[in-house]
């Protein structure tokens, strides 16, 4: 049972490598710092789930997290500041850092204002949810984005039902088990959701990118009428989601639409409600675009094909 001595790994060689270790760890640390910093500067929202997971770990009950989640400061800023502080021209960079933080905060406040205004205008005509539950888990290692909720068939859950939090759409029930269900999150790269701009009727598709952002693709191509900070809500096309639920905020413009950030970040969500399918008839006839392609074998509706 005991491994033979010849196969034991040589931990005793540690001392011989200590000098080498120093260089290696320093280089490794620098490279990783650079990578994390580049990532955090390039996409500040990227580490949102890391924050959420860390908060969940330190607050076991979960009721205290609601207050924490609304805060805008984050781990990423702290890490960035830490790595910068170690560099040689710290003073200069600190100024840039502070300016950037202020800018980001201003943007965040602006975005938050816009989001809250949109939510206020939209929260009308509540539909009685089928169930209210917590997200109990997710596929946190896979590049696919699934979450799991603690209600299932016994609670009346059926595939296709939209899942939303108080802030907006989270995803759609994909698979139903007896007492749990799998949710296809909006950020999954197979998720497609018809949306419209909250301020007018500019219709588009919101496709998951797999990295936490949504790609907004306008249906009517031409001059791009969008602007950063635009709020997108569900359009109701396809019949799964009722119209007017907040989905995403546009953060970057592209020629055919833009890149948008989720409004309802599931890792910052306490409770989610599973709502009934909005319009069964529309779903069954599939005369409009389908929200979600489950996989390649699933028949896609004309609307989905049109954007491919």
């Amino acid at each position: 049972m005991a491994p033979s001595a010849s196969r034991l790994s040589g931990f005793s060689k540690k001392a011989q490598y200590s000098v080498f270790t120093g260089y290696l760890l320093a280089t490794l640390g620098a490279l990783i710092g650079l990578g994390l910093l580049a990532l955090s500067l390039w996409q500040p929202s990227t580490f949102a789930p890391l924050r959420g997971a860390a908060q969940d770990a330190v607050s076991p009950a979960g009721e205290a997290t609601a207050a924490v989640r609304s805060g805008s400061g984050g781990v990423v800023d702290t890490i960035a500041a830490y790595w910068r502080a170690g560099s040689q021209n710290a003073a200069l960079r600190e100024e840039v850092e502070i300016a950037r933080i202020r800018l980001a905060e201003a943007e965040a406040v602006a975005a938050e204002n816009a989001r809250l205004k949109a939510l206020l205008a939209l929260a009308q005509g509540e539909i009685e949810p089928v169930a209210t539950t917590r997200l109990i888990g997710s596929s946190s290692t896979s590049s696919r984005r699934f979450a799991y909720v603690g209600v299932g068939r016994t609670d009346g859950i059926e595939p296709g039902m939209p899942v939303r939090s108080a802030r907006g759409v989270v995803g759609r029930i994909l698979e139903v088990a007896r007492n749990s269900s799998r949710v296809l999150l909006l950020t999954d790269s197979e998720s497609v959701l018809p949306v419209r701009r909250a301020s007018d009727d500019t219709v588009a598709f919101a496709e998951g990118r797999g990295d936490g952002l949504l790609r907004i693709r306008l249906i009517n191509l031409g001059l791009n009428p969008l602007a950063e900070g635009d709020i997108f809500v569900t359009s109701g096309a396809g019949g799964y989601y009722r119209p007017g639920v907040a989905v995403a905020v546009l953060t970057n413009l592209a020629s055919d639409g833009g890149i948008a950030r989720l409004i309802a970040d599931p890792s910052a969500t306490d409770f989610v409600s599973v709502e009934p399918v909005f319009d069964e008839a529309a779903v069954s006839t599939a005369s409009t675009a389908s929200e979600v392609r489950i996989d390649d074998d699933t028949a896609v509706s004309p609307g989905t094909q049109a954007i491919e």
Partner: protein, 185 residues
């Protein structure tokens, strides 16, 4: 009398050698149970927008394989992969395939170029995990994009950095596994 002269003479690092023996159940089940537990752990983490948790099940698996060669049979990737597939969110069968390939490749390489020591282990585990994450992305049932590849970078970095801690953990688990807990006679 003997105790006073040489208290440690009758015990090794797994405990007293007199009247005690290793438990075969414990010695055989600990690797499998810890790998399955590690497969289960990322499930309870809520990562909605991108994969952040390293593939703990695979890390534990490759860690046991590297640190205790020969303990897991060559086919161990199949049952353990089934369990991992149930919770990973990947299409069913991806872990079975990839874990089995991992076992075969490591065995092939190790039989020709036997290595030992922490740094080669870390290198092997890091490279293996990186390739595993990329391969898992390829077989995840969606078309891999540059955005997804980029989103996997922190996961890969975390997985590689985690190996030293896992190696310590596995070493401790191995001591527990082989401790002389069974009383004879």
């Amino acid at each position: 009398m003997m105790e006073r002269l040489a208290p440690a003479a009758r015990s090794d690092r797994y405990g007293s050698r007199i009247n005690r023996d290793q438990s075969p159940w414990r010695a055989l089940s600990v690797p499998y149970l810890t790998i399955m537990l590690a497969s289960l752990l990322p499930f309870v983490l809520l990562a909605d927008v991108m994969p952040i948790a390293p593939p703990l099940g695979f890390l534990m698996f490759i860690g046991w394989r590297i640190m205790r060669p020969g303990l897991l049979p060559l086919w161990a990737g199949v049952p353990l992969g089934v369990f991992d597939d149930l919770f990973s969110g990947q299409p069913f069968g991806s872990a079975i395939l990839l874990w089995s390939i991992t076992m075969i490749i490591i065995e092939l390489i190790e039989s020709r170029f036997p290595w030992r020591g922490f740094w080669p282990d870390w290198f092997t585990a890091g490279l293996g995990t990186t390739l595993y994450i990329l391969a898992a992305m390829l077989v995840s049932g969606t078309e891999p994009t540059a955005a997804m590849g980029l989103a996997a970078l922190p996961q890969i970095a975390l997985a590689i950095l985690l190996y030293p801690f896992l190696a310590q953990l596995i070493a401790g688990l191995d001591r527990f596994r082989l401790s002389r807990s069974r009383r004879i006679g």
